[in-house]
């Protein structure tokens, strides 16, 4: 019998060393998250997965599961705070869901819908983020970057290429490509890389197949993200399918 904790009253088993979110995902329970991916070491930057453990805030992707812990996640208080974080991500970049070819497959959009985000709430920053269309197979639209570092981690830890990195600091933090020109075409990036298939939003876009799956039939058009216990794997499956 493995140890357990409770998530909103539901009993979740875990193995030694697992974090709260890892255990929840394995058990098919949903805690909203953006920078977490089950294939990678938890990072803890987006903070959308923040829960209350014994009454204290903690990022569930990095907080170790402990036997008997009482975890609160799907509460009006936590969801209100998450909503604010998601709104912050929207105003920090330039997100135009209606014209974005990732619409329906985007975790930011799906999470926002699920949390009941109906407006950006905060004043927009309108950053100037030019796109990089240099690569023959992949377009980089930095306007939608939420700085989750998944592509950085995938390229470094799986592809062993270090194609991406974060640069700058604070509100000027940005994603860069590993070449003297800064262009993706001048790196050794390939659309078959793991890094090409982990973007939860619409930064890394595969050319010529943007609308292979029509709007309305995409992952989160069919079911809200909270009803998909393993949404990350589903998106990955969709992407792998077409590449």
């Amino acid at each position: 019998m493995s140890a357990t904790f409770t998530l909103d009253g539901r009993t979740i088993p875990f193995t030694e060393g697992q974090t709260i979110l890892q255990a929840a995902v394995a058990a098919g329970a949903y805690i909203p998250h953006l920078c977490f991916h089950p294939d990678f070491k938890p990072h803890g930057s987006c903070k959308v997965c923040t829960v209350k453990v014994g009454g204290r805030h903690a990022a569930s992707c990095t907080a170790r599961a402990a036997a008997g812990a009482v975890v609160e996640s799907d509460t009006p208080e936590m969801n209100a705070e998450r909503r604010a974080l998601v709104q912050m991500l929207f105003v920090e970049g330039n997100h135009f869901c209606p014209s974005c070819e990732k619409s329906g497959d985007c975790k930011l959009q799906a999470t926002a819908y699920d949390l009941g985000v109906v407006s950006p709430h905060f004043d927009h920053f309108y950053p100037d983020r030019p796109v990089d269309a240099s690569h023959p197979d992949v377009l980089l639209d930095f306007n939608r970057c939420i700085l989750c570092s998944l592509c950085v981690r995938a390229s470094r830890d799986v592809d062993r290429k270090n194609v991406f990195a974060l640069a700058g600091r604070g509100i000027r933090t940005r994603l860069i490509a590993n070449s003297r020109t800064g262009r993706l075409a001048d790196t050794d990036f390939s659309h078959a890389d793991k890094a090409a298939h982990v973007c939860p939003v619409g930064v890394i876009l595969h050319k010529r197949r943007g609308f292979d799956t029509p709007i309305g039939k995409r992952v989160f058009d069919l079911k809200p993200i909270s009803a998909r216990a393993d949404s990350t794997a589903e998106i990955a499956a969709v992407e792998a399918d077409g590449s």
């Binding site: 903070k47 990022a59 270090n162 640069a167 600091r169 000027r172």
Partner: protein
């Protein structure tokens, strides 16, 4: 002294020299970049080519590091790079007007490089010269006591392209301003004496004395130093490291500067004691970039101590007791004062705080057990070694033993360093420094507490007002809203950008405070500010985000009228101001006549 830049070396040569000096160790990336910056005035792409090839690092990683630190530049920023310290104390002494004066005289816009690529002028976070401000950095070197005359002189020197080495030495003189000495600054003992006392006792006994002294961390958090040393000593690991934290970026703090200038032997001897107690063989002094001017002096002290057998192999003749200290110079990042971010920075990375646990004491530098203590903590440990833990525990208060270096600045006659036993009342400090009609003091800097006059009976101690040292006094003329706004700007500038709430939230908070300052505030904005503060406190990754709201929460609680004055409108107003937005158009056309301004709409009821 940094290169005067009359003849900058070729980028490749500068990179090769810097890498050789650091044994081509990729973990020394930040030091290599800093030295290239110093030699060339920026980090040219050709230098990055060499570093990329020789250290076998991805270019994007090098750029990621180079763009994280404020004092590193991957674009030319002028042969003279002038940065005005932008702490509230500098502002109170007129720094904004002085910077405008310099910009006008040098025909340069703030934040931009002059057309002839000669000079750039901008602001930077507090440079730690609050007791002798307003201050600036020129090519990384501190200049204090600015006035119109000195600013004009600097403009002349810049225009004349005079190398920094030929500038008047008086400009670069930094005073210690020690106003009150107690057991630490007043001690007179010979270098090596504390070590000899420790060697006579043995390492276990030294740890016991440290625990008995109840000496707590002087960086502000107050963790018992003896317990930290013991935990590191007992942690499993191949090797152990020790770090002296002199990255005092908290605005208003300057005690590390004075301690390193006046008692460097106490700091290094304390670090050597820590090495003896924990078994560490390598130590680092993390010196904030703003204190670059201390580097050569500190290297000389280290050399002297090596020659005297107080550092290096077989210290004081004790076989197997080997320890040495390398100085790591920061490059403008407040967040690196946080111990796990500091370790990332030591490893040549962006200064992003790590997920904790595990803590540095088990998983620190290169994943090994590491003690990070403030330099004042190390200096105080010498007194424990010399006089015993029980003696030390008798000083101060039962919960906050010993003495504290307090950095007094702001509205007072005698700013400087005051060493007091813990437990001193704020009132006493204010009387000693000649502060009058004080309405509030900010204790421990922006992340600390705002204390109004009614609470001047409170004590500087971990159990009442914990402090890293700063005490900024504000007289009745000062606007506490502007104080908080300055601090909020500071946190936004220093946010590392890792987590969403701090990266975006500190900038949103800045915009909200600016909106109030610009006269567009309403009760709605006030509620938004309070909501944002809560979010930062609850959701942020590290102490920077958690405390970014402290100045606002503190002043709202204690000086609410300063905010209410700003709520000019009853109903919500957008922050957007058409007339302000047209400023750049006015500037481009060189117009400022009434017709170039948007007239406010006529009030129909008038």
């Amino acid at each position: 002294m940094p290169s005067p830049l009359l003849q900058a070396p070729a980028p490749a040569e500068a990179a090769a020299t810097a890498m050789a000096r650091h044994r081509h160790d990729p973990f020394e990336l930040l030091q290599v970049l800093r030295e290239v910056q110093e030699a060339c005035g920026w980090i040219p792409p050709e230098a990055i080519d060499c570093i990329q090839a020789r250290l076998a690092l991805p270019r994007a990683k090098i750029l990621g590091v180079a763009t994280f630190y404020s004092f590193l530049h991957i674009k030319p920023c002028g042969r003279y790079r002038i940065l005005f310290s932008d702490n509230i104390t500098d502002r109170m002494l007129g720094s904004a007007a002085l910077m405008d004066r310099m910009c006008r005289a040098l025909w340069v816009e703030r934040g931009k490089v002059s057309e002839d690529a000669l000079v750039s002028v901008d602001t930077t976070s507090c440079t730690g010269l609050c007791d002798q401000g307003p201050a600036l950095l020129v090519n990384g070197l501190a200049v204090g006591r600015l006035g119109e005359r000195r600013v004009d002189d600097i403009c002349e020197l810049v225009r004349g392209k005079v190398p920094l080495g030929e500038w008047p030495a008086e400009f670069f003189r930094v005073e210690d301003n020690i106003r009150r000495r107690d057991v630490l600054l007043g001690a007179s003992w010979r270098p090596g004496e504390a070590l000899a006392a420790a060697l006579a006792r043995g390492p276990e006994a030294l740890v016991e004395e440290m625990k008995a002294s109840k000496l707590r961390g002087r960086g502000g958090a107050g963790f018992p130093a003896g317990l930290k040393w013991q935990a590191c000593r007992e942690a499993p690991g191949k090797t152990r490291y020790l770090v002296g934290n002199a990255d005092e970026g908290e605005p208003g703090n300057f005690k590390d500067r004075v301690l390193l200038a006046s008692s460097p032997d106490a700091v290094f001897e304390g670090m050597t004691l820590g090495a003896y107690a924990t078994g560490a063989r390598r130590g680092f002094l993390y010196l904030r970039g703003e204190y670059r001017f201390l580097l050569d002096r500190l290297e000389a002290v280290l050399a002297r101590r090596r020659a005297a057998g107080l550092l290096g192999e077989a210290i004081l003749g004790r076989k197997g007791f080997d320890f040495d200290v390398a100085i790591h110079v920061g490059a403008g990042a407040y967040v690196c004062g946080e111990e796990s971010a500091l370790i990332e920075s030591l490893e040549g990375k962006r200064g992003t705080p790590r997920n904790r646990p595990p803590y540095p004491v088990t998983n620190g530098y290169l994943g090994q057990p590491t003690v990070v203590n403030n330099v004042e903590t190390f200096a105080a440990s010498c007194l424990v070694a010399l006089k015993g833990g029980a003696w030390y525990a008798g000083l101060g208060t039962p919960e906050s033993t010993g003495t504290k270096l307090v950095c007094v600045s702001g509205d007072c006659d005698r700013p400087g360093i005051y060493e007091y036993p813990f437990g001193v009342e704020v009132r006493q400090v204010l009387a000693d420094c000649g502060a009058r009609l004080t309405q509030a003091v900010q204790v421990s800097g922006p992340s600390g507490a705002c204390v109004p006059a009614a609470e001047f009976g409170r004590r500087l101690a971990f159990e009442d007002l914990p402090t890293a040292g700063a005490l900024m006094a504000f007289n009745a003329q000062r606007d506490m809203f502007e104080v908080a706004r300055n601090f909020v700007h500071f946190f936004a500038h220093e946010s590392c950008g890792f987590c969403t709430p701090c990266r975006v939230g500190t900038s949103l908070l800045t915009n909200m405070m600016d909106k109030l300052a610009n006269g567009h505030g309403s009760p709605y904005d006030f509620a938004e500010i309070e909501r944002m503060n809560l979010l930062l406190q609850n959701m942020s990754h590290c102490g920077l985000g958690h405390s970014a709201c402290n100045p606002v929460l503190g002043t709202i609680a204690k000086f609410r009228p300063a905010y209410e004055r700003r709520l000019a409108h009853e109903a919500f107003e957008p922050a957007f101001d058409l007339d302000r937005a047209l400023a750049s158009a006015r500037q481009m056309t060189g117009r400022d006549d009434p017709a170039a301004h948007v007239q406010p709409e006529m009030d129909e009821t008038a």
